[in-house]
């Protein structure tokens, strides 16, 4: 039975990080140049093809749609409905609804949203941190210790990996018991929750020595990037050039 290769084994996922980053940025910018529906259709086809090639799946698309819906779509639709309601009851200049333009804009924003998410979904964490280091490196001339902050981000993620299981077993279970306890009033539940959190924070701070040692060991040379060009990179760039011809 055919088994879809894991994302990390996909050869297009292993595209050179720098080229992949530049292409992602160019794609996001190119969305802005789509002026009509046909160009948006070309873009949709291109995104569908790279989604399949990069080994992403329907769940990823739905997750993106949900986040996009919560931050952009739902507030806009609610705002629109409320404004229409208010204008029925309150006199004054009517709001001009540019539906066609707004819908195209909504689609373009979703495409940018999707392109960025696709990039992060298909790029290993260490590679993302190396790209962040390169992008944020100029800030180090202003005195910002970018390597240290990026290593703190990595340490946070390592800490989360090691402590999330224990947290779910202990703390979440205690909180679940409190929430389900009908004999406790609302204020008592909040007090119990605060006690749990205070103990949790106190216990977590006991590991500060070993974590500080790991921060002190950070070196800028931990982040290194070397440009690599192979047929896959050339193919990716060519595909973008062809898309640009269609939408130009």
């Amino acid at each position: 039975m055919y088994e879809k290769p894991a994302v990390s084994e996909n050869r297009y996922v292993k595209l050179d990080a720098g080229i992949k980053t530049v292409l992602t940025i160019l794609l996001a910018v190119a969305v802005g140049f789509c002026d009509n529906r046909l160009e948006l259709v070309y873009f949709s086809i291109y995104l569908a093809v790279i989604t399949v090639l990069l080994g992403s799946d329907l769940r990823f698309i739905l997750k993106n749609l949900t986040a996009y819906g919560i931050f952009i779509l739902f507030p806009y639709l609610c705002g629109l409905l409320l404004s229409m309601l208010l204008q029925q009851f309150l006199p004054g200049p009517t709001y001009a609804y540019h539906f066609a333009a707004t819908i195209i804009r909504l689609i373009k924003i979703f495409f940018i949203w999707y392109i960025c998410s696709l990039y992060f979904f298909t790029t290993p964490l260490q590679v993302i941190m190396e790209i962040f280091y390169i992008i944020l490196f100029p800030l180090s001339y202003l005195g910002l210790p970018t390597a240290k902050y990026l290593s703190m981000v990595m340490l946070v993620m390592n800490q989360l990996t090691s402590s999330a299981g224990q947290f779910k077993q202990d703390i979440m279970e205690q909180v679940r018991i409190i929430i389900k306890n009908d004999s406790l009033g609302f204020t008592e539940k909040l007090k119990a929750l605060s006690n749990i959190l205070a103990v949790f924070i106190a216990n977590s701070l006991q590991h500060s020595d070993e974590i500080q040692e790991q921060v002190d060991l950070t070196r800028a040379s931990d982040y290194h990037y070397k440009l690599r060009i192979s047929p896959n990179e050339i193919l990716a760039v060519l595909s973008f050039v062809i898309l640009s011809i269609f939408i130009a």
């Binding site: 705002g79 609804y97 240290k148 989360l160 020595d209």
Partner: protein
């Protein structure tokens, strides 16, 4: 300079992210899509009470970055960063300059209002539509409710932390 400051920041960021997992089991009093309790702001309030402004900002910014990377949703970063930075700044100002007039609960409510409004502002900028601001009344009501809940928990937790002298031993 306190050598363990970086470790404390890392631990507090982890705590903020882990505590926000509790939102999966604590019911939200306002059944509106996208409205969350915002339990991570409890850690922001704790940081404001015990650390300086630079450390608070570091916690907020790095936490937003970690969550964006972990959830593969870097595009929510403008929303979370704007909301987080502005609300933390507002809360810090109220706590340090106007503590006479505002309790922790009040500060938390203001933080929630600023957070929601800022995120709506970013959405409006991105969409180029001001009609989105008609959604503000719903967000303000949810901010007051969730801000009161997290402020109450934050106030009680700060009291417990002060009683145990947790940060005194480290800072």
């Amino acid at each position: 300079m306190n050598k363990k400051k970086d470790a404390i920041i890392i631990i507090l960021i982890c705590n903020a992210i882990l505590i926000s997992l509790l939102e999966l089991i604590i019911p939200v009093p306002i059944p509106v899509p996208g409205v969350k309790l915002g339990l991570a702001s409890i850690i922001t309030i704790i940081a404001i009470a015990f650390l300086d402004f630079k450390d608070v900002m570091t916690i907020v910014i790095l936490r937003c970055l970690v969550v964006a990377i972990l959830s593969k949703g870097i595009t929510v970063l403008p929303f979370s960063l704007t909301g987080g930075v502005l609300s933390a700044t507002a809360m810090w100002l109220l706590y340090r300059k106007l503590a006479r007039w505002f309790s922790i609960k009040g500060i938390s409510v203001v933080g929630a209002i600023v957070h929601n409004t800022a995120q709506l502002g970013v959405a409006s900028l991105i969409l180029g539509e001001s009609v989105i601001f008609y959604y503000i009344p719903i967000l303000l009501i949810s901010a007051v409710v969730t801000g009161l809940i997290t402020g109450t928990i934050g106030e009680l937790t700060i009291g417990e932390i002060q009683k145990r002298g947790i940060f005194k031993e480290i800072i």
